[in-house]
Symmetry: C2
Subunit: 222 residues, 2 copies
């Protein structure tokens, strides 16, 4: 027979999945808006952030309420506290998408520098990392979480390449590109921060799963 708490935990899972979907969508739309210089789309990312903030609060409240009502032990407690952390990471990821949308609005009327260097590529890495990280939490799958962590150096590397190209091929050669290049550089940084938040999620999942393994099978720690 399923415990009542299990039902509640499934609901919590759904809330986190929805937060994840919101975050992914916000990243996608903010970068699409940048690529197509679509101010309306950029504005929709900014406007929708309110809903993500509300959902974050709802999920957070649900977690505290579950702890208070069920006084869950070990595994369940750790699942809930990890859920709280992931919820907060996702809200920040969505906030960063808003930052990207705001930069996009600032440069939407100016000619693009080259086809945005490798920003769309970095955005694709970030989006995929978010997807896999949420999956790793929902499934409690440590291998998926490790996959996320292995993508982070790729993201760092892309960010460095983008920054190098913007400084050396644009700013240094033609000073007049600086204002636009700076905006793109910030957007690359924002995307890399999304990857960092996603790495935090993966670390939380590994910690959640391994603490369990360790608790019951200390020999498996290494």
């Amino acid at each position: 027979m399923e415990r009542h708490l299990d039902q509640e935990l499934k609901e919590l899972n759904k809330g986190i999945l929805k937060m994840g979907a919101y975050a992914e969508e916000a990243i996608f739309k903010s970068v699409e808006a940048l690529k197509n210089r679509d101010k309306e789309l950029a504005r929709s990312v900014i406007d929708n952030d309110n809903n993500i903030d509300k959902l974050e609060l709802t999920v957070d409240e649900r977690c505290i309420d579950l702890i208070a009502r069920y006084q869950p032990m070990a595994k369940d407690l750790r699942f809930i506290t990890t859920g709280m952390k992931i919820n907060s990471e996702l809200e920040r990821i969505a906030d960063i998408a808003v930052d990207i949308a705001q930069r996009t609005l600032e440069i939407a009327d100016k000619p693009l520098l080259k086809p945005l260097v490798d920003i769309p590529k970095l955005a694709a890495v970030a989006q995929n990392m978010v997807k896999v990280a949420i999956d790793s939490f929902v499934k409690g799958d440590i291998e998926l979480a490790k996959k996320v962590m292995l993508s982070d150096p790729e993201a760092d590397n892309l960010r460095n390449l983008i920054q190098k190209e913007l400084v050396e091929d644009y700013m240094l050669k033609d000073a007049s590109t600086a204002p636009r290049a700076v905006q793109l550089l910030l957007i690359a940084r924002f995307l890399e921060r999304i990857c960092d938040h996603t790495t935090n999620i993966a670390e939380d999942v590994i910690y959640m799963v391994q603490a369990e393994v360790v608790r019951h099978h200390p020999e498996k720690l290494k």
Copy 2:
């Protein structure tokens, strides 16, 4: 008679205070290193981050352990979950100080651009915000938390001024300054992110205190 849990909560407070002190110190040292082009000091910030990470883990474990052992209700539970959040914000603030130290190492051998525009000023704002935010948590003082939130626009404003000056007075006028100006621009962004994390702490404190007030005195919500 004092409850055993109260003793434990005091210990938790101490842990958070120590994290706060570490974070403040990391910000201070990273900016001192930048001002004085002191590579050794910059490296010490990077090396010490390990200790902050360890303390974060200890505090986090303590929180989960407190919830599991005492099954605290309402006010105490919220204090503990807020403590977990603040702990994680402080760890990130320290991480950003590491970012600043790393940028500092990259530009330490090159001539400084002007006396660092307004970066030291922004750093002072950030450091003070961290101090007041930790204070607001420990005292559960909503007025202090509001003070922190009121400082955030000042930080945003300084960041914008720094960015504008770097782009308009340096990069656009003399393209050869771009690599250094970009590093300073990133440092200004890092400092502003510290202020954002600090604002998160203040919001958490307000939420922690007001949810209590609301719970017991719904008429006081507004």
